[in-house]
Symmetry: C2
Subunit: 568 residues, 2 copies
């Protein structure tokens, strides 16, 4: 897996190159960090020809490691202006691996306004006109592409949001059922793909590539032990498969950190109605699926397939963040409305999290009322139609909030934060503030870590360790949920053994974590060159001054303390 | 003139203190820079209680120096996030001087939503309820306040824009005719005043304060010589008094740098119709006034009083920037429409420059057509009414442009640039990029400087020298138009002599310019602490990549070259 395919959209040419040895240990998030720091001017227009769109599996993408099929998508973010790696499930990573592709790098920008589809098979890539597909949203588009290219294709595509340059737009990835339900959601990378005038990447057929190992037997043995631990873990082996990520709704509500009414409260009186327990009950009656693998390679099965009240497919991957931010944070208690929002977001190709926070600031501004699900769906309709207000919402929570004159805007570096109020979960707050990605929970979520979550003690260190570990997992291409076992260092050592068995050399825990440190350091370097400083590493003002009802907590970790989070 | 009045809006208390000696040489822009760097947390919310609103005359405010009555208004800008000094004409500075007031500093924020008027007389300040005045725009408000407090008052007030927190809002200052036609326009300081819930400052009566001198006779003699030079200068003594700043329309159009259709062109085919010559012709027939002093203390008389077609007063101070940005830049050829826009802006209390560029990006987005004056007036009506779209426009050009999905947004650090296309006037472009104020022409406009304006040679040095000189003039409280005589260093020496005669000590040109350097250095310090870096010191992307039609020029001064502009 060392072929790098470069697609130059200036002249619609494709070049496949063997990656030199120095790339051997660059994969996923680490690979993206390297390409962006080495090849993309940090001050470039994210939607201009100098930005690059990078799509790649992780270093363990060609192994049977648990949950090894995550896809990294990267570029300079049009939402945040920072470096960006958006991580997705789906089948695309595995299919890239089957072609022996370490990465796709899309460069340049066509001078014409015509759209293309990129069709990949083995080491060939064909760039074909996409006129008949433009204007389609992801579900219709996926159906049409599967009809044209066969039902076994894997697709990465954009909907109308990416076409129109919405800065909240995603790249949707087809899931194991062939539906565009998985998203490289954060940071507006759909609009970067749109700026290259690529409507979809389609991988036809399966290649013959098989992973190579320094010591295959040793890898398999250590992997067997690691996998066993993941499946035995109380979260990744029990909680998540049972109720999915939505299991968190009741938990965060009890903790008082479930964002409610644009982060005005941390508890939602109707939390039970949007909880994982409630979803399981409903879907049981509707023949939905509560154990579903979001990507090829998954062993945790924390995702779901959601049917509507008539028992027909509605959406897949109705996750905690989507529910928290479009449900409680908008005061919406009807889980079927939240599921509809999820479906529409996947279809248009917009980030459910950014969308929930954007609807939240619209409610804060009085545009619509908190709790009015029908009005929220109408706002999504505006984004779908591309009305003036829809376009405004498509620019994300910060621009929408500012345009509406809202002062309480829950963003960091222009990106909406996740469904954990940082005043009551300070370790995650440190991550929101300091992650090179902007407000992001997957970069290091401290939920469940030892200690009082609302007390500032140790939170900088907790966030640092998590951020390094997540950067590692995102570089390996392993789902971050397979890292709950890190609570026992012996399990990290197994992963280090797997690295040695795969790539050779001596690997211990510090060397393994060094991959994460290296990725973060490159990301920080890119951001620094893009003009970001420690002054950008802070939460929105109201998190410091407005006490969270109930607990009375504010975010009290100082800028000076935050500055010590990622000292590399 | 060493009394500093602090108005604390937390508890509506007023404290008058004698400034200690260290403030003797701090005035105007320099005073603001000092207070902000010493007292205001650079990362504070500009509309929150930690920001301070500072209003002060300059160091020569109590002298007969030419054009000595300029007013400096400062705070952290809600538009740019940088430090901000907005400079205005009008009578307020002189009236502060008459009370012996070196500065007004408004601190804190009331917990209630009630509005106040601050009435000043001698060293007393009364804070009285303003309920009956809220919702009024500046013309009606000024009339009402003059009725209540007498026609001799001087007023600094906000209209509905400042009340509503528009980030493009001004503080309007009454002119020598008592009309609210002068503005501390840039950076949204009207909303800072609004955040303190102050609707207006009213100065009643004239105090007895007289300026003190180290050597009064020497001051007067040097001042006589300096004044003579200002009046003899071909620009400040001839060009400006004849046609006002609007004399520039035909000049910049001929140079190809008159922004047209959102900076798409540098020449406007109807430039003649909005030129100073045309205004003079029209106003001659309508009994308007083409030689008008914008402030008490002016000797140049470059302003005007504009009557409508029926010969009735319409507006005052119809300046080049307003005409360039609301006329040519919006493709609007009807000077009466531009004059109406000017009037409405003064009335609502919004920056004419920010407004012209905001209308420009609305036109770029297709919201209304280029050249459609009636539609532009309708957009102003939306700002007046506070509709959703009006609120959006009130957030300034950058937010409006982003919300509308526009890529060509003519701003630097969030502030609209002025009516000189920087591709063809590179010295001014360097100032736009590097001024601590954000996109600003008064910080150092290179128009008329020696050399080819479209060639990059020497432009960094030219901008540096101008920025230092303007920071000096803004600290002295002298109109920047009295600095055209700086082309002869002997005149700068006269100003240095005046400093020595006023404050004592030996003053030469380097020491005099040191005041400007000192102000700029403090401003840069504040911005650095607010998170700004050299990476923020650049023009919008399209200025580098899109050639100006006609000349084919792009802005080609590199970031590394720009970084050398203000090396202190």
């Amino acid at each position: 897996m060392n072929k790098i395919m470069r697609i130059n959209m200036n002249d619609a040419t494709v070049h496949c190159q063997e990656a030199d040895e120095s790339y051997e240990l660059s994969g996923g998030r680490g690979f993206i960090a390297r390409i962006l720091t080495e090849e993309v001017p940090a001050l470039c227009d994210p939607l201009g020809p100098e930005n690059k769109l990078i799509i790649c599996p992780g270093l363990f993408g060609d192994t049977p490691a648990p949950c090894h099929g995550r896809l990294s998508v990267g570029g300079k973010s049009p939402l945040t202006g920072t470096i960006k790696e958006a991580n997705a499930g789906g089948t695309f990573a595995k299919r890239m691996v089957s072609l022996g592709l370490k990465a796709l790098i899309v460069e340049g920008q066509p001078s014409s306004q015509e759209w293309s589809i990129v069709v990949l098979s083995n080491d060939a890539a064909e760039i074909i006109p996409a006129a008949k597909y433009t204007g389609m949203n992801n579900y219709q588009l996926t159906d049409a592409l599967r009809t044209e290219f066969g039902s076994t294709v894997s697709i990465a595509s954009i909907g109308c949001a990416g076409e129109r340059g919405y800065r909240n737009s995603t790249i949707q990835i087809t899931d194991p059922d062939g539906r565009p339900s998985r998203a490289a959601a954060r940071g507006g990378l759909g609009s970067v793909m749109g700026s290259k005038r690529i409507k979809a990447f389609v991988i036809k057929g399966n290649g013959e590539y098989k992973g190579e190992y320094h010591d295959r037997a040793a890898f398999l043995e250590n992997n067997r032990l690691y996998t066993k631990e993941v499946l035995a873990n109380h979260i990744s082996g029990q909680g998540l498969p049972a109720l999915g990520t939505a299991v968190l709704v009741n938990m965060t509500n009890a903790m008082g950190i479930l964002p409610t009414n644009n982060f005005r409260q941390g508890q939602f009186e109707h939390a039970e109605e949007i909880s994982g327990e409630r979803i399981a009950e409903l879907q049981s009656a509707r023949n939905g699926i509560m154990k579903h693998a979001c990507h090829a390679g998954c062993i945790i099965y924390c995702s779901n397939v959601i049917n509507d009240a008539e028992g027909n497919y509605l959406t897949s991957g109705l996750e905690y963040e989507t529910i928290g931010l479009n449900g409680a944070n908008c005061g919406i208690r009807d889980i079927d409305v939240v599921a509809q929002i999820d479906r529409i977001c996947d279809d248009l190709g917009i980030d459910t999290m950014e969308t929930g926070c954007t609807i939240g600031v619209c409610m804060e501004a009085g545009k619509i009322a908190f709790g009015d699900g029908a009005a929220a769906l109408q706002l999504l309709q505006e984004m779908k139609e591309g009305s003036e207000f829809g376009l405004l919402m498509g620019q994300g929570t910060e621009v929408a909030g500012k345009a509406l004159g809202v002062k309480r805007i829950p963003t960091v570096k222009g990106q909406a934060i996740a469904a954990y109020d940082p005043r009551g979960l300070k370790g995650t707050g440190v991550t929101y503030a300091t992650s090179p990605m902007g407000g992001d929970h997957t970069a290091g979520n401290a939920l469940g870590m030892p200690g009082d979550p609302g007390d500032k003690a140790d939170k900088v260190e907790i966030s640092r360790n998590l951020q390094v570990a997540m950067a590692l997992m995102d570089s390996l291409g392993i789902c971050i949920f397979a890292s709950f076992v890190f609570e026992n260092p012996a399990n990290i050592a197994l992963l280090a053994n797997m690295m040695g068995a795969k790539f050779g050399g001596e690997w211990d825990i510090p060397k393994l974590m060094g991959l994460g440190v290296q990725a973060l350091a490159m990301e920080k370097k890119f951001n620094k060159e893009a003009g970001f400083t420690a002054k950008d590493d802070r939460l929105p003002e109201f998190m410091y001054s407005e006490a969270l009802p109930g607990s009375g907590l504010v975010f009290d970790i100082t800028d000076a303390e935050l500055a010590g989070t990622l000292p590399f």
